[in-house]
């Protein structure tokens, strides 16, 4: 045997490389996933150029390029987002490359964003007011549109304008101007202008309500619902978790019982979230909620007020789900407070409570905050328990509004995670909804990863800081 062969197998270097491969694969998987989400999510906002294709059969197609591949039969083809759902019934279309004679990007192509039926790609035809033609020809209409749309935004009344748009093959479509949200000529925009449109698109998605069965428009209610729920959960879980941890670490006699309790609490963190959902449904919604209804809202029965899922019950369920995280982190924080601090405090004549309040808790604060942040991150990403306790695909009203008592804890709410599930898997037109799902995923991941990073960095700093003490 040659020496390198023996070295190769005998020394086990090969296996070390194998271990390395395991890590590389894991890293590639996570990296690939993040890149996939970032590309798809951020790509959604970019006003891509409109392409006009001339096909061999003489037909024209206008749309945005959405991908290229080799079909299972070995023919290269491209995927176009052709829009005009009301005319074609489809959002996407495959076109074999050998069918295409010419690809052009005429500057007069427009993308009309409508309240219903999705985008329209084509050319501007005429602009009517009642029966009279106000402007005719692509450019003339384009010139006259901006002030009208701006005016429409500020006024409530119906303007009476109708826009006629023409698709690639000359088919006309009339749209009432009130249905039009925006008209863009992407091919006519410079990169800087596109960037501006991009920022505008991001803003729109983050701040507006969804349209078209959640597949278009914004995701503001879902963001708001998620944040709201996490805040209520935090308000509940903080005192509960901290008091329990204080008891376990500072007041309880350390023995078998406390150790058992600690293991039990620890294990609760590993109980599936759906079980918490089941508990929340049975205990909070039907148990507590049903009792509240029977006592104070009996006049509305059998329509339940609190006896059905709502943001309060969802938050409480998630609080229960995350309380072990907070207890464990707080305990760790309390344990990390050097013994000398307490001895010093007691030695100076402080009572136990004063020691805890003035010395121990402030020192342990980073640990507690870390626990809270990790709990919030977990809560923001959980979906399964919410599906049982109050999340809906489309909430008619926000949990906070201008009517008394302003904060409506009994209302159902929308949630980013559930939005992903609902839009991606329950909507009738999954293909058209996919970009929206990627955007929602991106927002959710940004929220969760930011929270987690903060938590992890804080924890690592704290561990370093107290590395010399009793940790």
């Amino acid at each position: 045997m040659k020496p390198w062969v023996r070295y190769f197998f005998g020394s086990g270097e090969l296996f070390i490389w194998g271990c390395g491969a395991g890590l590389s694969l894991s890293l590639l998987m996570i990296g690939g996933l993040l890149v996939l989400i970032l590309l798809n999510g951020f790509g959604y906002f970019w006003p891509a150029d409109l392409v006009e294709l001339t096909l061999k059969d003489g037909k024209h197609v206008i749309g945005q390029l959405a991908g290229e591949e080799v079909s299972p039969k070995g023919i290269p083809r491209i995927r176009m987002k052709i829009g005009n759902r009301d005319l074609y019934g489809l959002d996407y279309r495959w076109i074999n490359t050998d069918q295409i004679i010419e690809r052009t990007k005429p500057p007069d192509l427009v993308m009309v964003e409508r309240r219903e039926w999705g985008n329209f790609y084509g050319r501007l035809g005429t602009l009517h007011k009642e029966d009279q033609i106000v402007a005719e020809g692509s450019d003339a209409v384009w010139q006259s549109l901006p002030p009208l749309l701006r005016h429409q935004e500020s006024s409530e009344t119906e303007s009476g304008y109708t826009l006629r748009i023409v698709d690639a093959n000359g088919k006309e479509k009339s749209v009432s101007l009130s249905q039009v949200m925006r008209v863009l000529r992407p091919n006519d925009l410079s990169t800087l202008e596109k960037l501006w449109v991009y920022v505008g698109n991001v803003w729109t998605v983050l701040t507006t309500e969804p349209r078209e069965a959640n597949t278009e428009g914004g995701i503001f209610p879902a963001i708001f619902g998620t944040v709201m729920m996490v805040i209520i959960m935090t308000v509940v879980v903080t005192p509960v978790g901290v008091i329990s941890a204080l008891y376990l670490r500072e007041y309880a006699r350390q023995g078998v019982i406390v150790r058992t309790v600690r293991i039990a609490v620890n294990n609760l963190a590993g109980v599936p979230s759906i079980v918490f959902g089941v508990f929340g449904l049975g205990f909070f919604v039907y148990g507590v909620g049903g009792t509240i209804d029977a006592l104070w809202f009996s006049e509305r029965l059998p329509t339940p007020t609190f006896g059905t899922g709502g943001i309060l019950w969802a938050s409480l369920t998630l609080a229960l789900l995350t309380v072990p995280v907070v207890i464990i982190a707080t305990e760790e924080g309390l344990a990390a407070v050097p013994r000398e601090y307490r001895e010093g405090s007691i030695g100076l004549g402080a009572t136990k409570w004063e020691t805890i309040w003035k010395v121990v808790l402030p020192t342990a604060l980073p640990g507690i905050l870390t626990g809270l942040i990790l709990a919030m991150a977990r809560a923001a990403g959980e979906v399964a328990p919410l599906m049982l306790t109050g999340v809906v695909k489309l909430a008619p009203a926000m949990p906070i509004d201008g009517t008394w008592p302003f904060l409506h804890l009994d209302r159902k709410f929308m949630h980013l995670g559930f939005h992903i599930y609902d839009v991606g898997f329950q909507s009738p037109n999954v293909e058209a909804a996919k970009p929206m799902v990627y955007v929602t995923t991106l927002v959710l991941i940004l929220v969760v990863v930011t929270l987690n990073l903060t938590g992890i960095v804080m924890r690592n700093r704290m561990r370093k800081k107290y590395a010399g003490s009793a940790v």
Binding site: Y7, L14, I16, L27, I243, L248, A252, G270, A377, A380
Partner: protein, 773 residues
């Protein structure tokens, strides 16, 4: 780690009372309490609050399990029965035993048809001050010889007389509300008599059913002839209706003495039992020409069949015989693939002590009541194979029995003319441990099966609650996830802990921790909508990757090793993983490019037909591979973190000693580190298992959620957790489905709790072992 608790030494108490000077006056609050006292009280109050609060909160958290158990227990409770004081009725003059009783849905008003008259009796707890309803004599006492009841809406009765007439009547109960007052009143419609046979003869036994168009009466006359009468109403084109009556004598087709017969509720089938124990099935779709479909030997040792009834849904037939045996028969296909059926015995129940005289079915579920000669009645549930209740006669033998429309009560008439009303609390008759976990023979199935099917479009559908397919699905998903995750995660952990460059390690560890925090809904979405189609298109490429990737890694490792030492030493040790990344990317890309070639090489051109013909497997787009990868992805970080912790906690002096004695890196790892850390890695595996068992969103989104039992990689499954998420929002509060789903939740809870506890105990032992070094 464990700081000894702080001894509650209170500095306050030991403070010398004659301190240095007194407290400043400003510290006196209200002139009553000194500042010291306030501090002491605050301390005690907070101690109390934290202690009670802490204990309370922890008890609440742990009380979750108790709550789940509490919700599940009612499923397994025995049926409860409470009887009310018997009501004595006047005895009829005639000695005929023919009688029928019934009760309204609210169980307030009972009716009794006997001796040719129809009377009403208010039961205990009925609305006060309800006027008495006079007895209505329909035929002369003594001339009523047989009675029958039709199933369906309302109470449709038939009375057969000594001169061969059949009188049909319908009773309806109307509830009226006047403010808070309520009243109940019956209305009785009596139809024109129909002759049961061409010649007038006393009717000794009768069966009756009515449908929208037909009225069907089967009557056994004194001369042992069974006549079938069909009165069919057909609507003419001009809107008027015409009735046509067809009568036929069925006796010639049935050998033997007829002892029992019953009509199915849709009146298309007549089942006839004979004294020899044979069961004859007649198809009555054509009124003029009934067809004998099947003859079954339905009674052991040729005992006479004494009672017959179709269960709700008209599929299964309950047979009672002269020796008290009760069995349920249902049509079963002779061979898979044919439509030919034969009656098969699917359930047997405990024998009565004497001949079965009557069978009354529930209009709610597959339950039924049997009564025997000795006056005892029993309540059974067909599907769950259990006898729920036995009511022994206390006030004389129980003769006529009626199961209330909601199946929550029954009335019975004793031989001594007393009416007894029983309330039955039996909300979950279909659930037993056996129906939840072992195969059950449902109607319409060829053999006992494990089925989960909680709802369906049809009306007479019977929900099937077997948790076994769901437990199977849970295990299947977990196994595939663990198969992918454990090798990857443990290898990665070994590499990070033992061989990786420390600078790199400080960056890699948080990255993988972040991966742990990725919401599973995101993984589920990508698995279902992104990965599943890609896998479907490139399945051959993926199989190629599994083969090529290890080879490529080995080759590149070898290549690096045979590099000249001067070059090799330029590469810092502990960055092998980074060097491998471009290689892996290249292999993956290459395999994807070679997909078509590989498909024609390995799978004869198309892999789906190949799988079908060579392995008999069907390829679903959302299958176990997709879930395995996505769920594996979800549990890699947790297994990685815990294993890494266990590996890097192996005392450094041991490793240094091993290396110093000349062992290679690998030998140190294999013979020292892995062995000492193996309990930690094992506990990581268990925590990973716990995660996978309860994972909901990934399974929900990345499988078809079909509750089938099959280990195939290429089809989906349904797990306990996904099942809860799918079904509980639609489950009525407190119903069977709701509680069964709670049981599923409890199972998940217990499984993960056990796994986590075991893992935690192992870790604690490991920790104390290492602390010796």
């Amino acid at each position: 780690m464990n700081v000894p608790p702080f001894a509650p030494t209170s500095a306050l108490q030991e403070e010398p009372p004659s301190g240095r000077g007194s407290f400043p006056a400003s510290a006196i609050v209200g002139g009553l309490l000194s500042r010291r006292q306030i501090r002491s009280i605050t301390d005690r109050v907070t101690r109390f609050i934290i202690k009670t609060g802490g204990i309370g909160i922890i008890l609440c958290i742990l009380g979750m399990c108790i709550f789940l158990v509490k919700e599940v227990i009612p499923l397994f409770q025995q049926a409860q029965v409470t009887s009310t004081e018997p009501i004595s009725l006047s005895a009829p003059e005639s000695s005929s035993s023919a009688a029928l009783i019934g009760i309204d849905e609210q169980q307030e008003l009972a009716y009794v048809l006997r001796g040719g008259s129809l009377g009403f009796v208010f039961l205990a707890g009925a609305i006060p001050a309800t006027p008495e309803i006079p007895l209505r004599q329909l035929v002369a006492d003594g001339s009523m010889t047989a009675v029958a009841r039709a199933l369906g809406k309302g109470h449709n009765l038939a009375m057969g007389t000594v001169d061969g007439r059949v009188i049909l009547m319908a009773i309806e109960f109307t509830h009226e509300f006047k403010g808070t007052d309520r009243s109940i009143s019956p209305s009785v419609t009596v139809g024109a008599p129909i002759m049961a046979a061409p010649t007038p003869q006393p009717i000794s036994k009768m069966a009756y059913q009515s449908t929208e168009s037909d009225v069907r009466i089967a009557a056994l006359l004194q001369d042992q002839h069974l006549w079938l009468t069909t009165s069919r109403t057909t609507s003419r084109p001009d809107g008027t209706a015409a009735a046509s009556i067809t009568q036929i004598d069925l006796t010639p087709t049935i050998p033997g003495r007829i002892t029992a017969f019953t009509l199915a509720s849709r009146a298309e089938i007549l089942a006839v039992g004979t004294a020899e124990g044979n069961l004859y099935h007649m198809d009555l779709q054509e009124p003029a020409s009934p067809v004998l479909v099947e003859t079954t030997r339905a009674s052991e040792q040729g005992k006479a069949i004494t009672a017959l009834a179709y269960l709700m849904g008209d599929r299964s037939l309950v047979v009672g015989n002269a020796s008290g045996q009760i069995s349920v028969w249902t049509p079963v296909r002779e061979h898979p693939g044919t439509n030919m059926t034969h009656m098969a015995l699917i359930h047997r129940f405990a024998d009565h002590r004497s001949a079965v005289t009557n069978i009354t079915i529930s209009q709610r579920d597959k339950g039924f009541i049997t009564s025997d000669e000795g006056g005892e009645i029993r309540l059974h549930h067909s599907t769950s194979d259990q006898t729920l209740l036995t009511l022994t006669p206390q006030h004389g033998p129980l003769r006529n029995t009626y199961f209330s429309p909601k199946a929550d009560g029954l009335v019975s008439l004793t031989e001594g003319n007393r009416l007894i009303h029983y309330h039955i609390a039996n909300p979950y008759p279909e659930i037993t441990w056996a129906t939840l976990f072992s195969p059950v023979w449902y109607e319409g199935y060829d053999q006992p099966k494990l089925v989960w099917q909680s709802s369906s479009g049809s009306d007479d559908f019977e929900p099937k609650f077997s948790l076994t397919p769901l437990i199977f699905g849970t295990i299947k998903g977990t196994v595939y996830a663990v198969l992918l995750a454990v090798p990857l995660a443990v290898l990665a952990a070994i590499y990070t802990a033992m061989f990786m460059h420390p600078n790199l390690r400080a960056k890699i560890k948080p990255t993988i921790e972040i991966m742990a925090a990725l919401p599973t809904v995101v993984l589920g979405f990508l698995a279902g909508l992104w990965f599943a189609p890609i896998l479907e298109r490139n399945f051959p490429a993926i199989t190629a990757m599994v083969l090529v990737l290890p080879l490529a890694i080995a080759v590149s490792a070898g290549f690096f090793l045979i590099l000249p030492a001067s070059l090799r030493h330029r590469i810092r040790p502990g960055v092998e993983a980074l060097l491998l990344i471009p290689i892996i990317v290249a292999v993956v890309w290459g395999c994807l490019e070679a997909n078509a070639w590989w498909e024609s090489f390995l799978f004869d051109g198309h892999y789906k037909p190949w799988l079908e013909s060579h392995l008999g497997l069907n390829y679903d787009q959302r299958n176990a591979i997709v879930v395995g990868v996505a769920m594996g992805f979800a549990i890699i970080p947790i297994i990685y973190s815990i294993s890494e912790e266990a590996l890097s906690n192996v005392p450094k002096n041991l490793i240094a000693g091993s290396l110093a004695l000349g062992a290679t890196r690998w030998q140190t790892l294999a013979h020292l580190v892995l062995i000492s850390a193996s309990p930690g890695i094992f506990s990581a595996l268990m925590i990973g298992l716990g995660r996978a068992v309860g994972e909901t969103m990934i399974v929900l989104m990345a499988t078809g959620n079909t509750p089938i039992m099959d280990w195939s990689l290429f089809n989906g499954f349904r797990t306990l957790s996904a099942n809860i998420a799918v079904e509980i929002p639609e489950a009525p509060h407190g119903g069977t489905l709701y509680r069964t789903l709670f049981l599923a939740g409890l199972l998940l809870f217990m499984a993960t709790f056990a796994l986590n506890t075991a893992a935690e105990l192992i870790r604690q032992r490991l920790r104390s072992k290492y602390s010796q070094f």
